[in-house]
């Protein structure tokens, strides 16, 4: 595979999820009904992953994902593949749409690779571009499951962290360069104790990991916990910024932020495609705020793109890539 050179300034990337395209949705249903097994499931989903990667390549994204095509839900996917969980009873997600909120009923443990096959397949069709390994973080796994076994959040989150670390180690052995942990649940409880609980878990997830270590956090009031998360053992925070009007920028400045930033410039809730100028302005804004240099800035959407129509997701990414290219000329 020819090496691909990720731009030194403003590399573009994605948070992870992409609209389900191709046979992915059907494959998820077939697996759920027992019609197909795990192996067949991932085999069928390859076509979807390939289509996602093609969209990224078309848009010109530098660091890719597998589009999370096999993940019906970011917590359930992992819970179904770890020891200690059982399928839960039905809980509402919205309207009359329900999911089986997983329940912890025993000691959490890693069994075998959970996401590596999809990730490796994405790498094989990425034309040399790096593909992030993306996992649901221990805090989000903790918060969005029920627990009937531990009765102690700290013990549970630390075991979740250990299990996720096993997955990461397996990926590192296969050459993973970027490892991202998604923690959308953190900002829903923006309290010091919670931020510190996650720090302890992330020490397990990331200690000594030689790849780029990223945590994605989105929405909510991050400024409340910013001082505590800056201590996390990560290289990069990937942050939703566009949707909240870049409100966080002065806070980053205030706390002397100097890690890399995954800078969310695309609103994933809006069907309105951001123009190149709009995205470029957002990048200029970060540069003018004088927080970190352009080699520490990764340009990406606020969050996963899964709720957007594919056409809109593609267009948004393309404009984002073009804006990053223009920014490279200027900064």
């Amino acid at each position: 595979m020819p090496g691909y050179e990720v731009p030194r300034k403003f590399p573009t990337t994605v948070v992870g999820s992409y609209p389900k395209i191709g046979p992915a949705d059907k494959a998820i249903k077939m697996r759920r009904s027992g019609e197909i097994g795990e192996e067949e499931f991932h085999r069928i989903a390859r076509e979807s992953i390939r289509m996602v990667v093609e969209d990224y390549l078309w848009a010109g994204v530098d660091i890719l994902s597998d589009g999370e095509q096999t993940r019906e839900d970011m917590v359930v996917y992992f819970a179904e593949r770890m020891d200690g969980y059982r399928e839960g009873d039905w809980v509402r997600v919205f309207d009359n749409v329900y999911f089986r909120k997983p329940v912890v009923v025993g000691r959490i443990g890693w069994r075998q690779p959970m996401i590596l096959e999809d990730w490796e397949y994405a790498r094989s069709v990425a034309q040399g571009r790096p593909v992030k390994l993306i996992l649901t973080g221990p805090y989000t796994m903790l918060e969005w499951s029920f627990d009937l076994h531990y009765g102690d959040r700290r013990e549970l989150i630390l075991d979740l962290a250990r299990a996720l670390r096993r997955e990461i180690d397996a990926a590192l052995a296969r050459g993973a360069e970027y490892v991202q942990v998604d923690e959308p649940a953190l900002s829903t409880r923006p309290f010091r104790e919670e931020a510190e609980l996650l720090k302890e878990a992330l020490d397990i997830v990331f200690r000594g990991v030689g790849a780029k270590r990223i945590v994605h956090i989105c929405y909510g009031e991050l400024e409340r916990i910013l001082p505590y998360i800056l201590e996390y053992p990560v290289d990069q925070f990937d942050l939703e910024m566009k949707n909240s009007g870049f409100r966080l920028l002065p806070h980053l400045k205030e706390y002397g932020y100097d890690k890399e930033i995954g800078y969310g410039v695309i609103d994933v809730h809006s069907f309105q495609v951001e123009s190149v100028e709009e995205v470029k302005e957002a990048i200029d804004r970060l540069m003018k705020a004088d927080i970190v240099g352009p080699e520490k800035v990764y340009i990406d959407p606020d969050c996963g793109l899964k709720r957007l129509p594919r056409e809109i997701a593609r267009e948004k990414l393309r404009n984002m890539v073009e804006a990053a290219r223009l920014a490279r000329e200027e900064w």
């Binding site: 039905w90 919205f94 909120k101």
Partner: protein, 340 residues
């Protein structure tokens, strides 16, 4: 303590059982008639009412099984407002549809009164409680494209809700619960609290002889927000004692609950553990010591609709059992539906 009155009460809606989920699905896909759907909803509401009546709760809810979220019935019934995209509902892995206000909302058919008419006779000797979204929560969690300020929109919403409440009480509702969870949000300000206090007072003034409560859950409000809320003229103020991790208890210790009965959310409605009796009792004792209320409602910490159906029933039973036991052990007066 012997002159303190204690009663149990479920805070809000119930989750849908399998048969209800299926009925709604079938109706949407066209394979169920409206009548089929209503029949299932009605019989399922009777079940959740029966579970509460069986615990002796003086006031019970119908479960609100057909509501997709707390705002939805109004967003669908009123003119100039429509449910739109999904947004996370506080820190839950549950999403509501953002109501979009494009003009001053106007009422159509009442939402609550018909429910009360159909369920109140069945709930006897308990009385039916109605639950409404507080106007401040409703406004701040909506998208306001009316051209008027949030405050004015909240007032317009409050007027319509007051009318709803008035009709519901006429139809037989005995208790009105006004939910302002947004006041527990760290972003909530003194101004929000003042507005919530004013508007809930206005709504309560239309509640006739029914009891009224302002409930704040998910977290504990900030002290200055809680202080503002104390101005409200409702019978009870309810706080979430389990999810706030002790913060709500400290509030009660510092500020008391002057002029109000107190609602104590002590049975955790967001996990599936069977709450431990000693822990629940400890919370109740600490809270009562802190604010010396004359009337205490022991409640679930929030609606029960965030946990699976079978656990919602279990939590209801726990709440009933613990209420009896605590009242007995404390030598307090236990309020039961239909009296002794």
């Amino acid at each position: 303590m012997s002159d303190v009155k204690i009663e149990g009460q479920v805070l809000g809606g119930y989750p849908r059982s399998r048969i209800v989920r299926r009925a709604l699905r079938q109706y949407e896909s066209g394979s169920y008639s409206l009548l089929d759907r209503e029949r299932v909803l009605h019989s399922s509401a009777l079940t959740v009412i029966g579970v509460q009546v069986g615990q002796g709760f003086p006031y019970v809810v119908d479960g609100m099984l057909d509501w997709h979220d707390i705002f939805r019935p109004y967003a669908e019934a009123w003119r100039n407002v429509t449910p739109t995209g999904l947004l996370r509902y506080f820190d839950n892995n549950f999403f509501y549809r953002i109501p979009l206000f494009t003009g001053e909302p106007e009422p159509t058919d009442p939402v609550l009164a018909p429910r009360v008419r159909s369920y109140a006779p069945i709930a006897e000797p308990s009385k039916l409680k109605v639950v409404i979204p507080g106007p401040v929560t409703f406004t701040l969690m909506s998208s306001n494209r009316t051209g008027v300020s949030d405050e004015e929109l909240a007032e317009a919403i409050a007027r319509l809700l007051a009318e709803e409440v008035s009709l519901a009480v006429e139809a037989g509702a005995g208790f009105v619960q006004i939910d302002e969870p947004i006041l527990s949000d760290p972003k909530a300000s003194k101004d929000h609290a003042a507005l919530a206090a004013e508007l809930s007072s206005m709504i309560a003034s239309r509640a006739g002889g029914a009891k009224t409560m302002l409930s704040i859950y998910f977290y504990s409000p900030k002290p200055e927000v809680y202080e503002g809320v104390l101005e409200t003229k409702v019978d009870y103020i309810m706080l979430d004692l389990v999810d706030a991790g002790g913060a709500a208890l400290r509030l009660l210790e510092r500020k008391g609950c002057p002029g109000h009965g107190v609602g104590l959310g002590v049975v955790n409605a967001r996990n599936v553990y069977s709450d431990e009796y000693e822990a629940v009792k400890g919370l109740v004792e600490a809270a009562m010591k802190a604010c010396q209320p004359e009337e205490v409602l022991l409640t679930t910490s929030t609606w029960l609709d965030l946990i699976p159906y079978k656990y919602s029933l279990r939590k209801t039973r726990l709440l009933g059992y613990y209420t009896h036991r605590i009242a007995g052990e404390m030598g307090a007066l236990l309020a039961l539906a239909g009296g002794e």
